[in-house]
C-alpha cells in the first residue's frame, strides 16, 4: 500500500487512506494489534470520553440483531483527564490520524472537556452529540438544530483542534442539524451514530436493556446511513465522514460516492477483526481497476 491512491486530506490532516476506526469499537487503538498494525489505518477515533470517568450502563450491554447489533454501553471510559495523561500519548504512537471523541451531559461538560483536550497532541476533535445511551445530554444535543449549533459554537470557540461533529440519525431532519453545525463553525461532520432501537426478552416479558432503548449498528443500518450521508453531503460544504454498517470495500466506496470524504468502520470489526484491512485493500484494488488517480475522484458522484 505504498502509493497515493487512497491518500486523503481530511480537515487539514493527511491520512494514508480514508478508513477510520469508529469510536467505541476500537478502544484506544491497541486492542486489535494482534490482528494488524493500526498504522495501516487512516485514523482511529477514541472510545467516547466524558469529563468524569464513567462506569457505563448496568445490565446487558450488547445484543445481536439481524445483521447488526444493539449496544447500551453508556460511554464507559476513564475520563478526559486520564485520556490526556495516558491514552493520548499512546494513540499518537499508533502511526495514523488520532481523533478524540468527546461526549458530554451538559454544555459545560463539552466545553471543559474540549479545553482539557487542548493539552493533547490529537489531530481532530470529534464532538459526540449523538450517543443514545446516556440519560442526560448526549443525543439530546444532536436532535435539535438550535442546541447542536450552540454546543458546536461553544466548543469551536475554545478548541485548538479541527472540530468534527458526530450526528445522530434520530434527529427529525439530519440535514437541518448538519447545516446548523456548519454555520456554528464545525470543520467537518461524521454520521451516523447508532439508530435508537429496542429488544424485548419475550420469555421474561421485559426489555432486554436496563435503559430500555439502545443503539443499533451494523450492516442492518447501512441503507439509512448512506441516505443520510448523501443528504448531508449535498446540504453542507464542509467534509463529511460517513459511517453506519460499513462491512466491505464496496460499502465504503458507496459512502464516498454518496459524498463522504472519509469512512468509519465500527461494528463490522467485531464480526471480523480484519474487516478494515480488507476494506483498505479492496478500495485500493478498485482504484487501480477504475484507473483513478485518487479515491477522492469518485467523491459525491452519485
Amino acid at each position: 500500500m505504498g502509493n497515493d491512491l487512497l491518500r486523503t486530506e481530511f480537515l487539514g490532516v493527511q491520512m494514508k487512506n480514508p478508513v477510520i476506526a469508529a469510536s467505541g469499537t476500537f478502544g484506544f487503538g491497541r486492542e486489535y494489534e494482534e490482528f494488524f498494525d493500526p498504522s495501516i489505518l487512516g485514523g482511529v477515533s477514541s472510545k467516547g470520553l466524558t469529563l468524569e470517568p464513567s462506569r457505563g450502563n448496568r445490565g446487558i450491554r450488547v445484543w445481536e440483531t439481524p445483521m447488526g447489533m444493539l449496544n447500551s454501553i453508556g460511554l464507559e471510559n476513564p475520563g478526559v483527564e486520564h485520556f490526556r495523561d495516558h491514552e493520548a500519548k499512546n494513540m499518537r504512537r499508533l502511526g495514523c490520524a488520532v481523533i478524540a471523541n468527546l461526549g458530554g451531559h451538559s454544555l459545560e461538560d463539552y466545553v471543559r472537556g474540549a479545553e482539557i483536550l487542548n493539552d493533547c497532541d490529537i489531530d481532530i476533535l470529534e464532538l459526540n452529540i449523538s450517543c443514545p445511551n446516556v440519560k442526560s445530554g448526549g443525543m439530546a444535543f444532536g436532535t435539535d438544530p438550535v442546541q447542536a449549533a450552540d454546543v458546536t459554537s461553544r466548543v469551536k470557540s475554545v478548541t485548538r483542534h479541527p472540530l468534527m461533529v458526530k450526528l445522530t440519525p434520530n434527529a427529525g431532519d439530519i440535514a437541518l442539524v448538519a447545516r446548523a453545525c456548519e454555520e456554528a463553525g464545525a470543520d467537518g461532520l461524521s454520521l451516523i451514530n447508532t439508530v435508537l432501537g429496542m429488544a424485548i426478552d419475550v420469555k421474561a416479558e421485559r426489555a432486554v436493556f436496563d435503559n430500555v432503548y439502545a443503539g443499533l449498528s451494523g450492516p442492518a443500518v447501512m441503507p439509512i446511513a448512506l441516505r443520510m450521508v448523501h443528504q448531508v453531503a449535498k446540504a453542507v460544504s464542509i467534509p463529511v465522514s460517513g459511517l453506519g454498517g460499513i462491512a466491505t470495500a464496496e460499502d465504503a466506496i458507496a459512502f464516498i460516492m454518496a459524498g463522504a470524504s472519509t469512512v468509519q468502520v465500527g461494528a463490522s470489526t467485531f464480526r471480523d477483526p480484519m474487516a478494515m484491512v480488507k476494506i483498505i485493500r479492496g478500495m485500493e484494488e478498485y482504484a487501480v481497476k477504475k484507473g483513478l488517480k485518487n479515491i477522492q475522484d469518485i467523491r459525491g458522484i452519485v
Binding site: 486492542e31 494482534e34 490482528f35 457505563g56 450491554r61 450488547v62 445483521m67 454501553i73 467485531f270 471480523d272
Partner: protein, 240 residues
C-alpha cells in the same frame, strides 16, 4: 481457516465439536470466538476451549440461542470462523507451579475448561480432584476420569455440597452463577484460594466494545480481556 472434524450430540441440546485450526494453542481457561459462515449471524460467540492439542480444538456447548443452534447444524468438513484464543486463563491468575493439590468444580457447560486445566495441572505433578455437577444425565464421565486423580459426579443436586474447602488446596470453579456464589461462600469461609471462570455476552471478545464489563474490587474489568478467569474475591457479583 477452521474446519469441523466432527460435531457430536452428547445429549439433548448438548454437543461436542472438534475443529481443526492452526491458531496458536490456547491455555486452559481461554476461549475463542466462533461463528458459522453465512449471513445468519452477525457476531461471533465466545466459547470456552475444552481441549487443544496438535491443532485439534474441542468445544463443549449447549444450544441456548441462534448462535449455538447454527453451530449444532455444522457437519464434518464445514468451515467456521474462529479467532483467538482470547483472555486470561486459570494459570495466569494462580501459577500452576505453586499448586500441589487442586480441586476443579464444573457445573453444566462449565465443566469444559476443567478438562484442559486438569491435564495441565497433572503434567506439573499436582494432585487433581474434579467435581462435576449435572442437572440431568452426566456426560464425558470417562474422559474426565482419564485426566483426574479423583472424580466425583453430582446429578440433580448442588455440586458444591460435595466439596470440602480447605486452605492448602487451590480451587477452580466454572458454572452457573448460583453454583459460583455457593463456591465463593464456602471458599471464603475456609480461607481457600479459588479461581473462577466467568461467562458473558460479548461482541468483540478482546476488550474493545466494553460489552462485558463487570464490577470488581479493582474497578471495572472486561470479562473477555481481564478474565474470563479471576480470583473469586475480586468479583463483586460473587458477594461477601
Amino acid at each position: 481457516m477452521a474446519l469441523i472434524i466432527d460435531n457430536k450430540k452428547l445429549s439433548e441440546g448438548i454437543f461436542l465439536m472438534r475443529v481443526s485450526s492452526d491458531l496458536r494453542p490456547a491455555r486452559p481457561g481461554q476461549f475463542v470466538m466462533l461463528r458459522p459462515k453465512g449471513d445468519g449471524l452477525f457476531l461471533s460467540r465466545p466459547i470456552s476451549v475444552m481441549d487443544c492439542e496438535n491443532g485439534v480444538w474441542t468445544f463443549l456447548y449447549k444450544t441456548v440461542g441462534k448462535g449455538t443452534e447454527a453451530m449444532s447444524e455444522l457437519r464434518p468438513g464445514d468451515e467456521i470462523h474462529m479467532f483467538g484464543p482470547m483472555g486470561r486463563g486459570f494459570c495466569e491468575v494462580i501459577s500452576s507451579e505453586r499448586i500441589r493439590r487442586a480441586v476443579l468444580i464444573g457445573g453444566g457447560m462449565g465443566i469444559a475448561p476443567m478438562y484442559s486445566l486438569a491435564k495441565a495441572l497433572r503434567k506439573t505433578g499436582a494432585h487433581v480432584k474434579i467435581h462435576l455437577g449435572f442437572t440431568e444425565e452426566p456426560i464425558l464421565r470417562r474422559e474426565f476420569a482419564d485426566v483426574a486423580d479423583e472424580l466425583m459426579i453430582n446429578v440433580g443436586g448442588y455440586v458444591t455440597d460435595d466439596v470440602k474447602f480447605d486452605g492448602g488446596t487451590v480451587f477452580f470453579a466454572c458454572g452457573p452463577t448460583p453454583m459460583m456464589r455457593a463456591a465463593a461462600g464456602k471458599a471464603r469461609e475456609a480461607g481457600a484460594e479459588m479461581v473462577v471462570s466467568l461467562e458473558s455476552r460479548m461482541a468483540c471478545g478482546l476488550g474493545a466494545c466494553l460489552g462485558c464489563t463487570i464490577d470488581t474490587t479493582l474497578g471495572s474489568k472486561s470479562v473477555c480481556k481481564d478474565g474470563p478467569c479471576f480470583r473469586y474475591e475480586e468479583v463483586t457479583d460473587l458477594g461477601k
